[in-house]
């Protein structure tokens, strides 16, 4: 009898985990539950995917060590979407039809999520990711889509709230990377800033992967802004801020924390990074979930999306555990808010949550990336934003902006 690929993987999995805990041997006797990751390992989002995938792998190790879902281990299938919608569709088809996953987690690019969404909805596979474009949760997805990143409208208004709070920033310019949400974020941001009484001196969208932004910088600096709101990712932000520094710009810079992070500071150097403001939806730094995440995923705290990926997998697992035996994307859809939203006993990990669920109690998962409470269309409910500033080469927490 030939050994199928599935048997082979199961066997090697059993060999690996057998050293970990006896509970797992019991788990191995049951059929594994297939979950797929679809992260950008190459392409434009290539610097974010690997950490997201690692976080998911780390969570699954813990879940399986804790006995899995009613004794059944989770088996992960990884695919690279190449930050391309078409490649993402082919990968998703393989995950859905060949690997028979019940959920696809940690998509990143809005284009990929949008392209893959109809497939998941049709196949009743749950889709959860970090894509920011408004269209991701709009339209008819029958509840099979959720995301842990606040939508762009919310983000724009929160950033504007902070920008308008400083009286010395009267002239504000907006420079953003060409992304599906640059436009909507920009509109929300500039609209809210103007309503608060400040002036928008320039609004500019720049191209990705340019070696230098000298002309863009020259144009914007010609309008004499006090503050430049920079909406991009780390790679382009590094180039842009270096060019701003070289052009002797002495005003303030505000950007998203997922761009202005330790890699950014390392990239531009502490002198150039000094004083750059940044903000983002606050992860719950003090929560046990975040601490467990940091311990389990080395370097994961440098990635803006790894904490979310961690939560994606935990939420999917908890929702399945709440399903009382039945395992499918529909169960996840039905149980997501039950395990993620209040009311309920606050839990910070799968192990904790599974224990409570086994006792018939209702839970409210608070994750590494935030409170993880979802509204009806799959967006997370508004959350506080943390404002940081780079001081002496490190990001320091300055204040919190509440919704």
């Amino acid at each position: 009898m030939t050994i199928s690929r599935r048997d082979f993987v199961k066997a090697s999995g059993a060999a690996g985990f057998a050293l970990a805990a006896p509970a797992l041997l019991a788990a191995q006797s049951k059929e594994p539950i297939a979950v797929g990751t679809l992260c950008p390992l190459t392409g434009a989002g290539g610097s974010y995917g690997p950490d997201m995938q690692r976080a998911v792998v780390a969570v699954v190790e813990r879940i399986n060590r804790a006995g899995g879902i009613q004794g059944r281990p989770i088996q992960l299938f990884h695919e690279d979407d190449q930050t391309s919608a078409e490649a993402g569709v082919r990968a998703a088809r393989k995950l859905i039809d060949v690997n028979k996953v019940v959920a696809i987690v940690s998509t990143w690019a809005s284009a990929v999520t949008l392209a893959v969404r109809p497939l998941c909805v049709e196949a009743r596979v749950f889709l959860i990711g970090v894509s920011g474009a408004d269209a991701v949760t709009q339209g008819d997805h029958r509840g099979y889509v959720a995301r842990t990143q606040p939508n762009t409208n919310t983000q724009g208004r929160m950033y504007a709230r902070f920008a308008a709070s400083k009286k010395e920033w009267k002239r504000i310019a907006y420079m953003a990377l060409q992304t599906p949400y640059a436009q909507s974020f920009g509109e929300a941001f500039t609209g809210a800033v103007k309503a608060a009484g400040a002036t928008i001196t320039d609004s500019l969208i720049y191209e990705d992967k340019k070696p230098s932004y000298r002309s863009e910088v020259t144009r914007v600096l010609g309008t004499n802004p006090d503050l430049i709101m920079l909406g991009g990712y780390t790679p382009d932000s590094v180039v842009m801020v270096k060019d701003l520094y070289r052009a002797a710009y002495k005003g303030a810079i505000l950007g998203p924390s997922f761009a202005i992070n330790a890699k950014f500071i390392e990239g531009v150097g502490p002198d150039v990074a000094e004083g750059v403001w940044n903000m983002d939806r606050a992860p719950l730094f003090d929560s046990p979930a975040y601490k467990e995440f940091v311990a389990a995923v080395p370097g994961g705290d440098q990635s803006p999306y790894a904490p979310q990926a961690w939560d994606h997998m935990t939420l999917v697992a908890l929702a399945l555990a709440a399903g009382k035996g039945e395992v499918s994307g529909t169960v996840i859809k039905d149980q997501l808010r039950a395990v993620a939203n209040p009311p309920g006993a606050v839990v910070y990990s799968f192990a904790d949550g599974a224990k409570h669920l086994a006792e018939g109690k209702k839970i409210n998962y608070e994750g590494a990336s935030g409170a993880c409470d979802f509204d009806q269309i799959g967006d997370i409910l508004s959350a506080p934003f943390i404002v940081q500033q780079v001081r002496k080469g490190k990001n320091e927490r300055v204040t919190v902006i509440n919704p």
Partner: protein, 295 residues
């Protein structure tokens, strides 16, 4: 598994059609179009925008073909006065400009957001087995195009094109309006690429600018060269083999444990590059060599 294979087969079909279009330009007429993906994109967006705006598919698809062909004719009239290697760069640049246009002219193209909710023809009629229906549709298009292009190849028009490919000067001396024929061939290839684009857009029900990156043209070329540089059968075989290779290595990684993530993806792409170089060095005529036809 079946649905997965249907999906792959559909995409192979679409790609084959695109490669057939390129073959008209390169295989038949000897025109180097490194920007072939741009016409694919023009067709996709034309049909998508029209259909989303309420136009019937029966009008949207022919429009996609027409607009792509017109764009091809326009580019050809401007660029075809140039030498072979210049044409290559011009067409590459055109693809880049088109991508920027799709990305930036949001009033028309919806920019980076892309066009969502593209209607699928006869979706309600075939609800359950829609993927098979669409595969059938794509295969029908491929078969019709292949048949038509084979007829074309053997026709007087086709013979002139081949003469132009072999030696332009001789053809001109023989009294053929070389430039006019080249423009027509280029436009025809562009139109077929546009049809492939329309089929693509309505299959995915979503299009966005990054689907039409200039480097995608490379894969179309690779398929054509791999299958058999310059003949229609080669275009079909090459597309199938190439996509099969790309999809096949996807499964290999489930069994290759030491390569993960970026490394694996990079290794896959290195393989593609190496195959391309080896092909050009060792077997430039591809899997199905072109039969030289005596007149």
């Amino acid at each position: 598994m079946f649905a997965y294979l249907t999906a792959v087969a559909t995409l192979v079909g679409v790609r084959s059609l695109l490669t057939l279009g390129l073959n008209v330009q390169w295989g038949l007429t000897g025109l180097v179009n490194l920007g072939v993906i741009a016409f694919f994109g023009v067709g996709a967006y034309t049909s998508a925008l029209l259909a989303v705006g309420g136009t019937s598919i029966l009008l949207a698809w022919p429009a996609a073909v027409g607009v792509a062909a017109a764009a091809g004719a326009a580019l050809a009239m401007v660029a075809l006065r140039l030498r072979e290697d210049y044409l290559a760069i011009v067409t590459l640049g055109f693809a880049e400009v088109l991508r920027l246009f799709l990305l930036n002219e949001t009033w028309l193209t919806r920019g980076a957001n892309g066009v969502t909710g593209i209607p699928r023809p006869l979706h309600t009629v075939f609800a359950g087995r829609y993927d098979i229906f669409y595969l059938g549709l794509v295969l029908l298009a491929v078969v019709l195009a292949y048949g038509a292009l084979e007829r074309l190849r053997r026709s007087p028009f086709g013979r002139v094109l081949r003469a132009i490919r072999e030696d332009e000067i001789v053809a001109a001396v023989a009294g053929k309006p070389v430039f006019r024929f080249k423009v027509q061939a280029f436009a025809l290839g562009a139109g077929i690429a546009g049809l492939a684009g329309a089929l693509f857009a309505h299959y995915l029900a979503y299009v966005e600018p990054n689907m039409f990156l200039p480097q995608e043209s490379l894969f179309v070329w690779l398929a054509l060269i791999l299958g058999g540089s310059g003949n229609n059968r080669g275009a079909l075989v090459g597309s199938a083999v190439l996509l099969g290779l790309l999809e096949g290595t996807r499964f290999a990684k489930d069994v290759v444990p030491f390569l993960t993530g970026v490394r694996l993806a990079a290794a896959q792409q290195i393989l593609v590059g190496v195959v391309l170089v080896v092909l050009m060095v060792r077997r430039p005529e591809g899997l199905i060599p072109e039969k030289t036809e005596s007149n």
